[in-house]
Symmetry: C2
Subunit: 219 residues, 2 copies
Amino acid sequence: MAPRKKRTNDPEGMRRRVLDVAEDSFQARGYHASSLSDLMAAAGVTGGALHHHFPTKKALALAVIEERVATAVQETWIDPVLAASSAREGVRAVFEAVAAELEQQGYVRGCPLNNLAHELSLADDEFRLALARIFAGWRRAIADKIRADRLDGGEGRIDPDRFAALAVAAYSGAMSMAKTSQDAGVLRECLRALESFEPSQSGLTAKRRRRVLPRRMIG
Amino acid sequence: MAPRKKRTNDPEGMRRRVLDVAEDSFQARGYHASSLSDLMAAAGVTGGALHHHFPTKKALALAVIEERVATAVQETWIDPVLAASSAREGVRAVFEAVAAELEQQGYVRGCPLNNLAHELSLADDEFRLALARIFAGWRRAIADKIRADRLDGGEGRIDPDRFAALAVAAYSGAMSMAKTSQDAGVLRECLRALESFEPSQSGLTAKRRRRVLPRRMIG
DNA sequence: TTATAAACAGACCGGTTGTCCTGTTTTGTC
DNA sequence: GACAAAACAGGACAACCGGTCTGTTTATAA
């Protein structure tokens, strides 16, 4: 009669589940619109457990930013760009990959980093700095890739920092519009505009020999 | 002894005061973080008056979007671009004007449209459509300006819709980063990147004859 | 086993939120 | 002046929020 359930402590798993749900809810509803009770219910976690791993809601959000949002930027942007034959080609590939994924998915929830950045940057300096660090790493990775391309004999006309800033800004802004219009088309429009601005070189989307081994240049 | 204050009905003024405060608070703190009690206190308005003009918080936000945010985009972007000698020059001027204003101001609160778009687009379809309309008008104004430039013998190599999308995206994304880093420098970086991509033409920031009368092309 | 701390459960609380409601005052109209 | 509608005042309220608290169970180490 008594269910006699045995409890199993799984701190890492529980922490992960909470982060999963929080990451998803912050992305879909935002920080303020996500209540802890909602998160607890969705994750199947009690208040005591949640508070044990994340003493405050702010601590939870900070963990989402540093452990999940940063990882998302790394995986969807930095790694592919570093693995590409050139920075320009990497940026192009990411734009198209994201656009394709969004179109297949059918809806646009936006860029996790930008979503949280807009809502939390002015609310708390700790949030702001954590988010700014991710933006900076993103830009730096692209800029460093351009510099490495140059050493390999790549196109040497564009300023690395400027192009990196523009790439990140164009993507962020395009995702903002895509989210608002629920249409990923604007991502492709921005990409084409970026491509049509090829500096001096003529080959627009022309095929280029692809490097076999992607080379890493950042520790 | 009795203060005997006479009340004066001023519906338009009261509505305006509420919108002023709401616009400011939504910009600085966001929609969810702005409580109606805060707004009432800041505007010196009672709950009854507020409820009379704006039955719900959503109605207030919708009014802010349609009456204030749309106007802000019109005044800081569309009007200057239409008045400029070319779309490209107009975009450049706006980027620099905003950057200069932010640097003088000392802090960055971000783009009102993007701020609200990120927080509200997924929350409510009515919000989303109102915000999407403003984005669309913004892009259309720039694209139409490019088409008009072309008829006047301007540079004819760039695709109007693509360039407009890129300009808006780059600005939105740059403002996002500027807000997060509290540094308007990235705006200038993006502008320079945009300028360095001059298609074929050589004159980078070269002086051009300025049209005396700005011409309007949208009703 | 026993002690010790970590991991978890679940109730509880003060404060706040947005909204509603009942009045009162002002304004416009006949 | 009479009357109706708009404009405004201000309290009340239920729902909910995030955080805290006490207590129990599980794992770890001596």
